[in-house]
Amino acid sequence: MTENVLVPQPQNAWLELEHVDAGYDGRLALEDLSFHIPEGVRVALIGPNGAGKSTLFKVLARLLPLRKGDIRIHGLPLGHHCDCLAYVPQKEEVDWQFPVTVKDVVLMGRYGKNNWLERMKKEDDLVTMRSMIQMGISDLANTPISDLSGGQQQRAFLARALAQEPHILLMDEPFNGVDLTTQEKLFEILDELRRQSVTTIVATHDLNLALTKFDLAILLNRRLIAIGPPAQVLRREPIRQAFGNQALDLDQMIVVDQCCPE
């Protein structure tokens, strides 16, 4: 499958995976996954349900141990860079009835910066405030999360990720059920993060967005199908290879079935 690896491999690869195996119990969800992502790029992670997108995120967040292989961030094995990774979960994974306000949630992003027995510092408050302003939700600071709309929920969790000041940002289906304004806001922030050399990896079903708004696309189905510039990766053949009969060929346009979230 190496003929599909189209990206030049720079010296300062920010994130490197070498022959990674990962899975649950007896089942491997990812097999022999190897790729390099240079720093500061925006990556669309694309694959059918069960392709191992969430598994990849969990491995990167160290929620799931590696079975085999190596992951290096800036040349160092996983775990050496404290706090360098932030994860924006899918909305379905969050307990929206939990009694916390927007500000509580964003402030949680700062807990890792402190020894957890210490008091929060002024800087933490400032970063929290700045993150909320950046996402345009500072007026919702004292609103319980149960009262938020879909777009506001997504913004609150991205604000929390910003407060973590990550080097790598992982987002799981952030465009699902989000209004257009929020989507624009998301891309504004992603542009800003790119300027700050933050690498973002976004799992998405939206091939159109992947094609137009991302620097790099990874096509995944348990194994790496292809990695490279979206226009080259998201072509008929590789997509068919990843999605099988979930991909529909509609007269020059390829559509993937996205009816059933995992």
Binding site: R62, D83, E93, F98, P99, V100, W116, R160
Partner: protein, 291 residues
């Protein structure tokens, strides 16, 4: 006599307190209910109600052994509870059995073992009923010291570890990416819950302590929007139930543990139907308005 206070009313509240055992009982009841209600917030938010129930039952063998060898019952219960708490956190990490199955097996066997041990004693019916259902009027000065000391220790640790425990309860994935010591925090929470259970045994008993962990906190959940307020309201409701339950027990001559729990249930039902935010009535009205 205070001016403006109905002397009959005053007499209603004061006359039981002429007995020292009632004074101690009331104090114990207030302390235990308040403590359970605060710790219970985490039990409710992390959906550990079943676990709390299981842990309280698992304490019985420890109590029984302490009783048989004439040792300190609280100490026996404490050792058993902490052992079970750590055992559960190990078993649930292995993940070969579903967690609720593992807990179900563990706690019913522990309960059976405890009953087997206690049944070797002749007077076992009376002793067993005190352990199962509590005997708040038998609280001695020493017991009060145990309750007060351990209760303060639990609340202090909870306050110190509040932030990481909050993250763990709300979003375990965030806790992991923040590199918080997730497994140790889980074990810590279980140990705090088990100490709370042990401290509460004398007041509400093994069979009913889970109710005091869950009911006031669930009531507060329906009424509030933030965890600190939820904990405060829960503590208040717990204490109210403790006091109301004890007076009900005195005047109606019913078992104290049961009347404390039923008072808490009464408050819960009020909130369940009439809570302005999450109550049945409010959501019915909202639904009608939206038609």
């Amino acid at each position: 006599m205070l001016p403006g206070v109905d002397p009959l009313m005053l007499d209603f509240f004061l006359s039981p307190l002429q007995f020292q055992f009632m004074q101690r009982g009331l104090l114990a009841s207030v302390l235990v209910s308040g403590l359970c209600a605060i710790v219970g917030c985490f039990v409710v938010l992390r959906s550990m109600a079943f676990l709390g129930d299981a842990m309280s039952h698992s304490v019985l063998p420890g109590v029984a052994v302490a009783y048989l060898v004439g040792g300190n019952l609280t100490l026996g219960a404490l050792i058993a509870a902490v052992a079970v708490a750590l055992g559960i956190s190990v078993v649930s990490r292995r993940g070969t059995l579903r967690e609720d199955t593992a807990i179900g097996i563990l706690f019913s066997s522990a309960l059976a073992l405890g009953i087997a041990l206690i049944s070797t004693i002749r007077s076992y019916a009376v002793d067993l009923s005190h352990i199962l259902f509590g005997n708040v009027l038998g609280v001695g000065p020493n017991d009060l010291l145990w309750i007060g000391g351990l209760g303060i220790a639990v609340l202090a640790i909870l306050a110190l570890a509040y932030r990481p425990l909050l993250v763990l309860a709300f979003d375990p994935i965030l806790a992991a990416t923040l590199r918080l010591p997730v497994e140790r925090l889980r074990a810590l929470l279980l140990v705090l819950i088990s100490i709370t259970i042990v401290v509460s045994l004398q007041v509400v008993g093994i069979a009913l302590v889970a109710a005091m962990l869950v009911t006031p906190a669930a009531t507060a959940f329906l009424l509030t929007r933030r965890l600190p307020t939820m904990a405060a309201v829960s503590a208040l409701l717990g204490i109210l139930s403790g006091v109301a339950g004890l007076y009900a027990s005195y005047y109606l001559n019913i078992a104290s543990g049961a009347s404390v729990v039923l008072s808490a249930t009464f408050f819960f039902l009020l909130a369940f139907f009439f809570s302005p935010r999450r109550g049945i009535l409010a959501s019915r009205l909202r639904a009608r308005r939206n038609l």
